[in-house]
């Protein structure tokens, strides 16, 4: 059994006018523990709605969502689900609640009733793994956007969640902040084996994942490695999405008859191919 199992999942937001708008339309997806999956799609394609099913913020209208074998509709297991899957949202200012960084990271484990000496260890460990240990006594509002998002990630790590879902964590950040967050996620993925689901509109970030899932109109329409997905530049553009710059340039050069492998996705690969 896979770590995340979504079977025939449908979701419709309740509407006052009676008509139902399907936001998720018979979605099937399974993710193994330890995978790093990028989730792409235009605004309104259902990415965030799907993400919110993973820790039971939303429950399926029909179909099933199982996380670590637990059916998210099982209200008696709600706490287990929330401890298994952590969320990091787009706006860092909406998810940091305490006046001191370490208090914010401790908030989750405190609520779980973790003994206080364990909380200390967890908080220190979590801040260390996002490289924010030097800021433990800081006031969060004095941090940069990238630092705040790393604190938010530390907050989920302190819960010892096995899976972290990040919903456009870099949309509000400057280039330096974006790099900090992505580097942190990549490193944590390699070191800790945590499962990451990473929603983004930046194709370069998606190219760093192991697997890319593309959504359109509430359905999953593509699912494959970054190479498989991004070598189809025109198909992606038709969906209102984009491809990393290296893939775009490769695609255009190939169209002009330049002999290049269609599997080039990263800048590194393009440089190697062209400069040999």
């Amino acid at each position: 059994m896979a770590f995340i199992e979504i079977e025939d999942l449908c979701f419709a937001y309740p509407s006052t006018r009676g008509e139902k708008r399907m936001v998720l339309d018979h979605v099937n997806l399974s993710v193994e523990e330890g995978e790093f999956v990028a989730l792409l799609g235009t605004n309104g394609s259902g990415k965030s709605t799907l993400a919110k099913h993973l820790n039971a913020i939303l429950l399926p209208t029909s179909g099933v969502c199982r996380v670590a074998g637990i059916d998210t509709r099982d209200v008696t297991r709600l706490w287990d689900i929330r401890q298994t899957v952590g969320m990091v949202f787009q706006n860092p200012d909406n998810q940091i609640i305490a006046a001191i960084v370490e208090d914010d990271v401790a908030f989750g484990p405190e609520n779980l009733g973790v003994p206080s000496e364990d909380i200390r260890t967890r908080v220190d460990g979590a801040l260390n793994s996002v490289n924010m240990a030097d800021f433990q006594k800081f006031a969060p509002h004095l941090l940069s956007g990238g630092q705040k998002q790393r604190v938010a990630i530390a907050g989920t790590l302190a819960m010892q969640t096995r899976c972290v879902v990040l919903d456009e964590p870099t949309a509000m950040l400057d280039p330096v902040g974006r790099k900090e967050v992505l580097d942190t996620v990549r490193r944590l993925h390699q070191e800790s084996g945590i499962t990451f689901i990473y929603i983004t509109h930046f194709m370069e970030e998606a190219a760093a994942a192991q697997r890319v899932v593309v959504m359109e109109d509430g359905k999953i329409v593509e699912d494959g490695s970054p190479k498989e997905i991004f070598c189809k530049a025109d198909a992606m553009r038709k969906r209102g999405l984009d491809v990393p710059l290296a893939a775009e340039i490769t695609w255009r050069l190939r169209k002009q008859g330049v002999r290049l492998s269609e599997n080039i996705v990263t800048e590194e690969e393009l440089v190697v191919a062209l400069c040999r």
Binding site: N43, G44, A273, L274
Partner: protein, 289 residues
């Protein structure tokens, strides 16, 4: 007449322990009909700067002149001058509040006490410009729209004020690639067709590379670079100092050059970059791979 900032300094919470100077002696002239991008990392002072352009903030020292009028003035002229500037804040869709799209867009012009027909004309034309069909969307609640559509409604609300100058603070943050491209195209069109003077703040250098005529990099409350894109994007040291990164096209071309491909690394748009690379491959003798 241009927008002129003369020696503008701004200090937040002056006289308190939290005192912080966000702008230091900034002088900048923004010509009529120009399209200027202001870039800088978080905390560089760019948002503080644009808030001076319509008198939300007044300089601690120095002055801001708009069509020759000091925006900090108290009289009717200063008030009218401030109205010439339309300001689209970050995440403007968070400011939507009316029950219908049309009512939300009409809110500004109504407050200007314009006659009803004029308000309606402006709402229609603003909606047409952001490509929201009037009949389809006028009675829809803005809260039922997608993120990209909500942002267009918010921008239409500012356009309906028919400003002479339009300031956009991070207009594409959080939009998907199609919506982003669409929005940038619309903004460029406003500039070309309606001759609006546009100032947009962004830390997305790829967006800036696509449209700006002039680029200002802010760092630590000062103007670090003020130049046309062809110069600004290649000022490596300054870009690094400002905590930014060059457009990905520029970085890619310079990496190709470093690694031995004889390519002219002076382009910053994707079209131009592809041309330069194709030319370099031909020179090299046909194909690689």
């Amino acid at each position: 007449m241009p927008i002129e900032l003369k020696g503008v300094t701004y200090t937040y919470m002056r006289g308190t322990p939290f005192e912080r100077t966000a702008l230091r002696d900034v002088s900048l002239t923004i010509a009529d009909g120009s399209l200027t991008a202001i870039a800088g990392h978080t905390g560089s002072g760019k948002s503080t700067l644009v808030q001076h352009l319509n008198g939300i903030l007044h300089p601690t020292a120095g002055e801001v002149l708009l069509d020759g009028e000091n925006l900090a003035g108290k009289g009717k002229e200063a008030r009218l001058a401030r109205r010439k500037v339309g300001m689209v804040f970050q995440y403007p869709e968070q400011q939507l509040f009316e029950e219908t799209v049309a009512a939300d867009i009409a809110f500004g012009p109504k407050n200007l006490e314009l006659p009803d027909e004029e308000v309606e004309r402006r709402v229609r034309s603003a909606m047409e410009f952001v490509q929201l069909d009037y009949e389809t969307y006028k009675d829809v609640s803005p809260f039922q729209l997608s993120g990209g559509q909500m942002r267009r409604v918010a921008i239409a609300g500012v356009l309906a004020l028919e400003p002479k100058y339009l300031v956009l603070d991070e207009p594409t943050a959080g939009l998907d690639p199609r919506a982003r491209e669409e929005l940038l195209r619309r903004v460029t069109e406003l500039h070309r067709k309606k001759k609006l003077t546009i100032i947009f703040v962004s830390h997305n250098m790829d967006d800036i590379a696509r449209m700006a005529e002039r680029v200002v990099f802010m760092h630590d409350g000062r103007v670090l670079v003020d130049a046309p894109p062809a110069e600004a994007f290649f000022a490596e040291a300054e870009i690094r100092e400002a905590g930014l990164s060059a457009p990905s096209t520029v970085t890619l071309l310079s990496r190709l050059k470093e690694n031995g491909l004889d390519v002219d690394a002076d382009a910053f748009t994707v079209d131009e970059a592809v041309k330069r690379i194709a030319k370099a491959i031909k020179k090299k003798g046909g194909a690689s791979c």
